[in-house]
Every structure is written in structure tokens, then in C-alpha cells.
């Protein structure tokens, strides 16, 4: 499978990266990591890229990295998945408040509602 993983710099997006790399090593899936600025987290794409490269190096796994520009990462993930015929979109998300309630961020929610591609959410 061709997998498109979105990473915006949240803890949960890095967790999803690690899980996806582990799984792709077993299944032989091809992985593309789309990195972007997540305004809700306040990271920048350069920092995210560094972290993604480090994780891939440590795991000894090859994946292409794509940078999404613009203010609407959710719609860009959806478009990229469709235009390049990815088989699956993977995202991390579902942050818990201190009280324990899970909330989905706006990017995850946009992708879940609008993607024509199957979506896996890693919590």
C-alpha cells in the first residue's frame, strides 16, 4: 500500500509516525510523510522535518518527505491523497484534556469528513 502520513508536530503526530514506520517495516508499505505547520500546536515545518528525519534514521526506514505549504493542511492532505492515488491516509490525533476527555483537532476532523481515501486515526 501507498501510505500518506500527515505530521504537524504534535506529540500524537510523532507517536503516529513511530507506529506507522514500525508497521510499514513489517508490511512493506511505501510511506510518504507530509509535514506541515499545525497552528493549534505552534510548531514550524522545519522543526517537524528534523524530528521526522531523525525518527526515520533511527528506525533505518526510507520514506519520502513532502512539505505542505499554505494555511489549510487538512485540505492539502486530502488533495494530495487523491491526486497521487494514495491507498490510505494516516493521522495522529485525539488529544486528552487533563480531565481525560478526548477532542479531535480541526485538521483531523477536516480529513475524516472530507477524504475520499480511507483514513486511519492513531490515538
Amino acid at each position: 500500500m501507498d501510505i500518506l502520513l500527515g505530521v504537524g508536530g504534535s506529540e500524537l503526530s510523532y507517536h503516529a509516525l513511530e507506529e506507522t514506520v514500525e508497521r510499514a517495516k513489517e508490511t512493506g508499505d511505501t510511506l510518504t510523510v507530509a509535514i506541515f505547520d499545525n497552528e493549534e500546536v505552534g510548531t514550524d515545518a522545519d522543526t517537524v522535518r528534523k524530528q521526522v528525519e531523525e525518527t526515520l534514521d533511527t528506525a533505518g526506514f526510507e520514506a519520502s518527505i513532502r512539505r505542505l505549504e499554505g494555511g489549510s493542511p487538512g485540505s492539502q492532505i486530502v488533495e494530495l491523497a487523491e491526486s497521487e492515488a494514495f491507498d490510505r491516509i494516516v493521522l495522529g490525533g485525539g488529544e486528552r484534556s487533563t480531565l481525560g476527555k478526548i477532542q479531535l483537532g480541526s485538521i483531523v476532523e477536516f480529513v475524516l469528513l472530507n477524504a475520499q481515501t480511507p483514513v486511519t486515526l492513531i490515538r
Binding site: R96, S97, T98, L99, G100, Q103
Partner: protein, 173 residues
């Protein structure tokens, strides 16, 4: 994340302890609760129906419930339980967030739902919050949970964001 709250503070809420008669004629005691009440609260959550969970809480296994209560029953949180004799029928909690505001959640055990206990619990918890000098309280609720949204609105919460799966509401004590 910054949240919006109503400009006008809410009126005065009743403070615990108090006893109310629910719509089924049961006398329900509303009392502030802490670590000492853990066993009764755990029993309530172990009996809780999975279908009534919301946004991942309460957890379903006893160990996970105990872990969760470690946070909820902490010294910086406020809790009120509704008791029918010795049994805990409902529980409401205020937990501080990183901004110094408080997040509210409430759960009522299935046999006690629809009898007005939820409203009394929330009001009594907000009364305890006023007594302790708490300012802003917020909550999130699933968009399709109309009974809960109606309850919060009746108590005085106002919707601050309704753009996602969860509606966010706030009140200024």
C-alpha cells in the same frame, strides 16, 4: 488555547451539602467529595454502561478508572457526588486546566438518569466552585448529545465554539 466566556457572571448556585427529591421520589444527598469517597465512586464507574461514555471517559476497566480518579480526586480538583443512601448515583468534577480555568464533567448512573439529578449535581458543583473562588468553567460535549447540551444551557452555560464534533461551552462564576 484561549476560550471565550460570558461577560456577565452567573447568579448564585446552591452549595453542598444539600438534599433534593428527584422526579422518582428518591431523596438524593449532594455532598462534596474527595479521596475518602473513592470506593463508592469506583463502584459507580464500574457499573457504568459503555454506551453512556463520552469522549473516552469514564474508562471501562477498574485499573483505568482508578488511574483516572487519581487525577480527578486530586487536591486541586473539586468534586460533588449524588448519593442515594450509601450508593453513589452521580458524580460531577471540576479539574483545573493549564490556563487556570476549570473543565467540568458530570456522570449519572443509568438507573438515576432522567430524574433531574444531573441538573442538581451541576448546580451544586458550581456552587462549590463559587465558594472556592473559581472564575471560569468550560466543558465540551458531543454535538449530538442534545439532553446534555440542554442541561448545560439551562444552568447558564453559553456555547463558545460549535465548529467541531464537540460543542464547547463556558460559564463565568
Amino acid at each position: 488555547m484561549s476560550r471565550d466566556y460570558p461577560d456577565e457572571p452567573a447568579g448564585e448556585f446552591p452549595r453542598p451539602p444539600r438534599t433534593v427529591t428527584d422526579r422518582e421520589g428518591r431523596d438524593i444527598e449532594l455532598v462534596s467529595a474527595d479521596e475518602a469517597d473513592r470506593d463508592g465512586i469506583v463502584r459507580m464507574y464500574v457499573a457504568f454502561a459503555p454506551a453512556d461514555r463520552a469522549q473516552g471517559i469514564p474508562p471501562d476497566k477498574k485499573d483505568a478508572i482508578e488511574n483516572w480518579l487519581d487525577t480527578i480526586l486530586g487536591d486541586d480538583c473539586l468534586n460533588v457526588v449524588a448519593r442515594d443512601d450509601d450508593a453513589v448515583a452521580g458524580h460531577a468534577t471540576l479539574v483545573p486546566d493549564r490556563e487556570g480555568d476549570f473543565e467540568l464533567a458530570i456522570f449519572v448512573l443509568q438507573p438515576y438518569q432522567g430524574a433531574g439529578i444531573g441538573t442538581e449535581l451541576v448546580e451544586t458543583l458550581l456552587g462549590l466552585g463559587q465558594q472556592e473562588g473559581i472564575g471560569n468553567v468550560w466543558l465540551t460535549v458531543e454535538r449530538w448529545n442534545d439532553p446534555a447540551i440542554a442541561l448545560y444551557r439551562k444552568v447558564g452555560f453559553e456555547t463558545s465554539s460549535a465548529e467541531s464534533f464537540e460543542v464547547e461551552m463556558g460559564i463565568n462564576l
